[in-house]
């Protein structure tokens, strides 16, 4: 317990201890703010063994600093703000090991400049393998500075940093006085690292050792690897490019931030996220609230250096200049094959012009074009926020000047991102030959107006292309999945008994039994997919004497083990969800909880959170209650086993009866839901068969099969989620964690409606979810059973995605879940693998008075923040899962090709889903993949009727959307980028291989 004291702040020092500034409010009023600052002498310098400051903490820096060729007595580094802003990757590198003194001024400036970098910096200070001491220089009396007149905040901070460096050096001297008769003590140096030349000069004139990052790193033994991580900065031009002075700007300058803000406010400019077009690299779009359709950006100049995910400001052209999106597939790799990464001297100029002309040709339009399809067209005039992160890339081997593997010369090369949405990144590296054929991580540093491509730097290598480790890791990085093993602080939160943990004996003393119902005698069973280890739900049903039925859903009581605001909880909140990849699962919670203590395994007692209904035989809810409980599951079935047991008339035991009872209720529940207008949506789901657990080579792919028991479990989970949602919304109207699915805007369906009408003469009614459900049922083709599934898949793509939200932050009438046709919904039933469920558990426990709610869940802003994170993680996890399936489908195809030794590829049936001027997009339902069929020869394209006409020896063949074709699928490697590509060609009605 710390002593309560009164801090003294002498009036005579008010000049330095008081800060006055003026602040302008949102309304434009100017307010004077006076703040005080208490300067202290007990801010520790953080160096171990210091006699003046007692830093006994384990995080303190080693007394002698670190060895460095230039500093025989050891040294500490004191980086300034621009080091962290531009060289974060280097600072994070494990090879970069000197003890770092991190100043509060620097932290605050980083935070002010970029929140993302600030978070990385904060995470960095907490890692164990870095020696970082945060020195609160603004609070130490000797190092605090105040802004002088006519001094910019930046200069003030720089001065503060220099002053602190000076102080550190003298502090080290003072605290290590020479002792008579002994050798003079070694006094390590404190080195100021800064990229700012002016700052360095000022520091040197004040007698402070100041280095640039480059100079500092160059003298380190690991210089070669570290120099690659060095980002390109503009301040002192590490290697000024020869032509930079004379080069023509390729892009227009951005407008000033103030102009942008004013423009957006006045409605002249529009702000939104930039989405690149995955089919055409010269086209992008920005959805803005002012228009129904997104604003189209055509051509490099108009996209003006925006990268997918950036928040940009666009200017919309006059309506006369509006265009329709191009119907062509334009591939960056093929078009820009010969572009020169080095772009040095006159040769570059020439090729630039040529390049521009080629691209111009691609960006041509049919002026007569269908005016109906025109959409707002514009150009990017500014960037509000860059969303650059590290991208997984390949080195483009053609851009290398020297392939000599031992060459350590610096080369400029192209890195091609795996994602088709991103531009190529220009990169300077000394290890280029070594990186060929590897997946690497590259960060974008900047994109100048006179550079066609963004410039970046190499972060690290992930491993060989197509090695499973590299592919998996790149996938996880690409989708920002947190896949690091759980840290010690997190594992310390687990019960100390570990695997041996059991539910203690029932008595009043054990806290586990407090407020818990004993449901161990109930006939509870779980039904899950085969091989499921994290069983988070179990069910029971039994008839009641009054003719009604009691049904219960029992969910693993994760919140008993994961308490709010503990390291394990924070980690789970950050991970948001468990990510399922084909051969791997990245858990949200440590596996001790997920697969053992919380998993509702059969024959053992487990803690659960139960929702128990009384239902009439017609499945009307009479009442519902929620309770924490202890259960003992009697059986764990797979869907198949449960189905067999239910259908077998010889099985007459109580458990089978209970399954049948559940099944009849589920059928009625489903019927009611369908009547209310719930949609039966489809997404391509396939199952990958792995050869054996060791090799994990896929051998076959097939579509997932659905049984009656799948729907049994689903119905009861929906029922539980809805009941819980109602309860927590009632108790916590401001902060309840709910999930909703907004009805899609009608415009989203226009294209699909038009295609269906023109091609099949079917009218799709999208006025309500009910109408849509009904009209989807009529979309059948007697000859083609999978046609209906295809339409459903396409309809699903027109919809918005469901999202988590905090009940207090949106209007009450937008709570509904469109797809499920439910007025309110949440996620409650899978707390092992979804964080939203954990929150719902906590809120429900508080709602029934079981345990008090943690203060953070009372705070709307906190809940909103968590919802944002888990929504993003959820989306990313879905995409990662899909990408993983795609990768394995590719592998399976490749394997099949090789085994059958034909080399000719796999022949599959496919549906045409989109037509282009020079190709078709097809969907192979059996494999659940989409592919492009490209034609090199001229073909006739009818955009109005969604058809293309291909010349054939036997006359012309017309192919339309929804037509069934058969395609030949091959996996081939792009020679330059090593990117595995699924290549499809048409087999029938016409062979396109020579077209």
């Amino acid at each position: 317990m710390d002593q309560i004291t009164i801090k003294k702040r002498p009036r005579s020092e008010a000049v330095i201890t008081q800060r006055k500034f003026f602040k302008k409010t949102a309304r434009g009023k100017v307010i004077k703010v006076l703040r005080e600052r208490y300067l202290r002498d007990d801010v520790s310098c953080g160096i171990r063994g210091c006699i003046a400051c007692h830093s006994s903490l384990e995080h303190s820096l080693p007394a002698s600093g670190a060895p460095h060729p230039s500093f025989p007595n050891g040294h500490f580094v004191l980086p300034d703000t621009n080091i962290f802003l531009s060289q974060m990757d280097l600072m994070e590198a494990t090879l970069f090991t000197p003890p770092i003194i991190l100043l509060q001024t620097v932290m605050e400036e980083v935070r002010h400049r970029s929140l993302a970098l600030y978070n990385r910096l904060k995470a960095l200070t907490k890692t164990d393998d870095k020696k970082i001491w945060v020195f609160y220089n603004e609070y130490r009396s000797e190092t605090a500075v105040i802004r002088e007149e006519n001094e910019t905040p930046n200069d003030r901070n720089d001065r503060g940093i220099r002053k602190t460096t000076e102080w550190y050096n003298s502090h080290l001297q003072v605290t290590r006085p020479p002792i008579r008769g002994q050798a003079p003590p070694k006094i390590p140096a404190v080195v100021l690292l800064t990229e700012d030349v002016a700052n360095r000069q000022k520091a040197e004139s004040a007698g402070i050792t100041a280095f640039s990052m480059k100079r500092y790193v160059e003298s380190l033994p690991e210089a070669n690897q570290l120099l690659d991580l060095l980002a390109v900065t503009d301040s002192n031009g590490i290697e000024p490019t020869r032509a930079s002075g004379v080069r023509q700007p390729l892009y227009p300058e951005y407008l000033l931030t103030a102009t942008l803000a004013a423009g957006v406010k006045a409605g002249k400019l529009h702000q939104g996220y930039f989405n690149a077009n995955q089919y055409n690299y010269l086209e992008g779009s920005v959805p803005v609230p002012a228009f129904n359709k997104p604003v189209l950006l055509i051509g490099r100049e108009n996209m003006n250096r925006a990268v997918s995910g950036d928040i940009v400001v666009v200017e919309v052209f006059n309506e006369k200049e509006w265009k329709a999106p191009a119907d062509e597939v334009v591939d960056q790799d093929t078009t820009l094959k010969n572009d020169n990464a080095e772009e040095s001297g006159d040769e570059g100029e020439e090729s630039d012009g040529e390049m521009a002309a080629r691209e111009k040709r691609l960006v041509k339009f049919e002026e007569s074009a269908r005016s109906a399809e025109r959409q707002p067209t514009g150009r990017v005039v500014g960037i509000i926020k860059r969303n650059w992160r590290a991208y997984v890339c390949h080195i483009d081997s053609t851009s290398l000047t020297s392939l000599n593997a031992t060459s350590l010369a610096q080369q400029t090369v192209f890195a091609t991102p795996v994602s088709r949405l991103l531009p190529r990144i220009r990169l300077r590296t000394r290890q280029a030959p070594m990186l060929i054929g590897q997946k690497i991580l590259v960060t974008i540093d900047r994109w100048d107006i006179n550079s066609r491509y963004p410039e970046g730097h190499f972060v690290r290598s992930l491993g060989k292309v197509e090695s499973k480790e590299a592919e998996q890791e790149s996938l996880m990085l690409e989708f920002d999945v947190r896949y690091r093993p759980f840290g010690k602080a997190i594992l310390d939160c687990l019960p100390p008994e570990g695997e041996q943990w059991v539910v203690p004996l029932k008595d009043d003393v054990n806290p586990e039994w407090k407020n818990r119902e004993d449901l161990r005698q109930l006939l509870i069973c779980s039904i899950d997919p085969p091989g499921c280890q994290d069983i988070d739900d179990a069910l029971h049903a039994r008839p009641l004497p009054n003719g009604n039925i009691e049904a219960g859903v029992h969910i693993a009581d994760v919140s008993h083990f994961v308490h709010a605001d503990t390291p394990i909880d924070n980690e789970a909140a950050d991970r948001g969800t468990t990510v399922y990849l084909v051969d791997r699962r990245i858990d949200m919670l440590p596996s001790l909880l997920g697969t053992n203590l919380c998993s509702l395994r059969p024959f053992v007692e487990r803690l659960a959170f139960s929702a128990i209904w009384e239902l009439t035989p017609e499945a009307e809810i009479v009442n519902v209650r929620f309770t924490k409980s202890v259960i003992a599951s009697k059986a764990a079935f797979t869907y198949e086993e449960a189905q067999i047991r239910k259908d077998d008339p010889n099985q007459q035991d109580d458990l089978s009866h209970s399954i049948r009872l559940l099944n009849t209720l589920a059928k009625k529940l489903k019927e009611k839901r369908m009547k209310a207008g719930a949609l039966n949506l489809a997404s391509p789901e396939v199952k990958i068969y792995l050869d054996s657990s060791e090799s994990s080579d896929p051998i076959d792919v097939e579509q997932k099969e659905l049984r009656e028991t799948n729907s049994l479990v689903e119905e009861f989970m929906l029922l539980a989620n809805i009941s819980v949602a109602e309860k927590i919304q009632e108790t916590f109207p401001q902060t309840a964690v709910l999930r909703r699915h907004l009805p899609p805007p009608k415009a989203n369906f226009e294209k699909l409606q038009d295609i269906l009408m023109k091609r099949r003469g079917i009218k799709l009614d999208v006025s309500s979810s009910r109408a849509l459900a009904d009209s989807l049922d009529t979309c059948v083709d007697p000859q083609e059973p999978s046609f209906n599934t295809l339409v459903r898949i396409m309809a699903t793509r027109c919809m918005l995605s469901a999202e988590y939200f905090c009940s207090g932050s949106v209007a009450r009438d937008t709570f509904g879940h469109y797809g499920l046709a439910s007025a309110i919904y949440t996620h409650f039933t899978s707390p092992i693998r979804r964080y939203a469920d954990v929150l719902a558990h906590r809120q429900l426990a508080a709602a029934i008075g079981n345990s008090p709610l943690h203060p953070s869940l009372h705070s709307k802003s906190h809940v909103e923040h968590v919802m944002d994170v888990i929504n993003r993680r959820h989306r990313m996890a879905q995409m990662a899962g899909r990408a993983s399936v795609e990768f394995y489908v590719g592998l399976a195809l490749k394997g099949k090709n090789e085994r059958e030794a034909k080399g000719g590829g796999v022949k599959e049936e496919a549906f045409v889903i989109r037509t282009f001027r020079n190709g078709l997009s097809v969907f192979v339902s059996k494999l659940g993949i989409e592919g492009l069929v490209m034609f090199k020869k001229e073909i006739k394209f009818d955009a109005e009727n969604y058809t293309i006409t291909v010349p054939a020896p036997s006359g012309e063949v017309t192919i339309a959307v929804f037509d069934k074709v058969s395609v030949n699928i091959q996996v081939e490697k792009d020679k330059n980028t090593q990117r595995g590509k699924v290549k499809m060609s048409l087999m029938s009605p016409i062979d396109s291989s020579d077209l």
Binding site: D2, R9, Y136, P855, S861
Partner: protein
Amino acid sequence: MSSRVEILNDGGYRSDGRRQFELREVTINLAQQGHADGSAIITHGLTQVLVSVFGPREAKMRSQTIHDRANINVDVNVAAFSAGERRKRSRGDKRILEIASTLKSTFEPVVQTTLYPRSQIDVYVTVLQQDGGLLQTCINGTTLALINAGIPMLDFVCAVTGGVHSTSPLLDLTTLEENDVPHVTVAIMPKTGKVALVTMETRLHVDRFEEIFRLAGEAGKVLHREMKSAVMGRTSALVDAMGSQGTGIDRDGDEPMNTA
């Protein structure tokens, strides 16, 4: 949290460089102010309050006289320039009336009003500067002014505001902190350890309340030492001043004032 300022950073420092349990600078000025019978200017950090006490004197209005004790009349005035934004508060402002009535009900049981039947004690509180902890400053200032006026009281009344940031308690909040964290103002009588006032306008989790309440009480005792030494200092200065006149005051006597 999107706010730029961290309430409590990882190093355990608050936005103004204090640690969790450190109170702001307190300055107390007990010098004579105008015609007041007792007055005090007290500063907690950047919050400054002037309290003037008049009385006990004969009640002006008949309706307000109480036959067996004195009536305490509190009037609070917030200077228009006290906060960053210039704002004139009317006398009928509900916030101001609330502070006044809180002060009145806090001091009624502490001041020995029964010694002065049918009289009134006027307390005029003027807020000169505001930066959080307004109520605590008003209470502490009133205590000092009453003592300075020589009005008998059972004990000091010392108030401190306590708040909680996530799970860490903080003491003596600034405006910045008050806007962000739930807080409680606790006034105690340090000798007896009795609680004179607990007031809270924000939602505070019940599990956190006890800790903060206890801490604020402890902090009140620390503040008491400061206030007491100010009173002692003022008194001994007065005594010294009298002694220097050399009128034969009995320095050891109980009542030096009356022996002249």
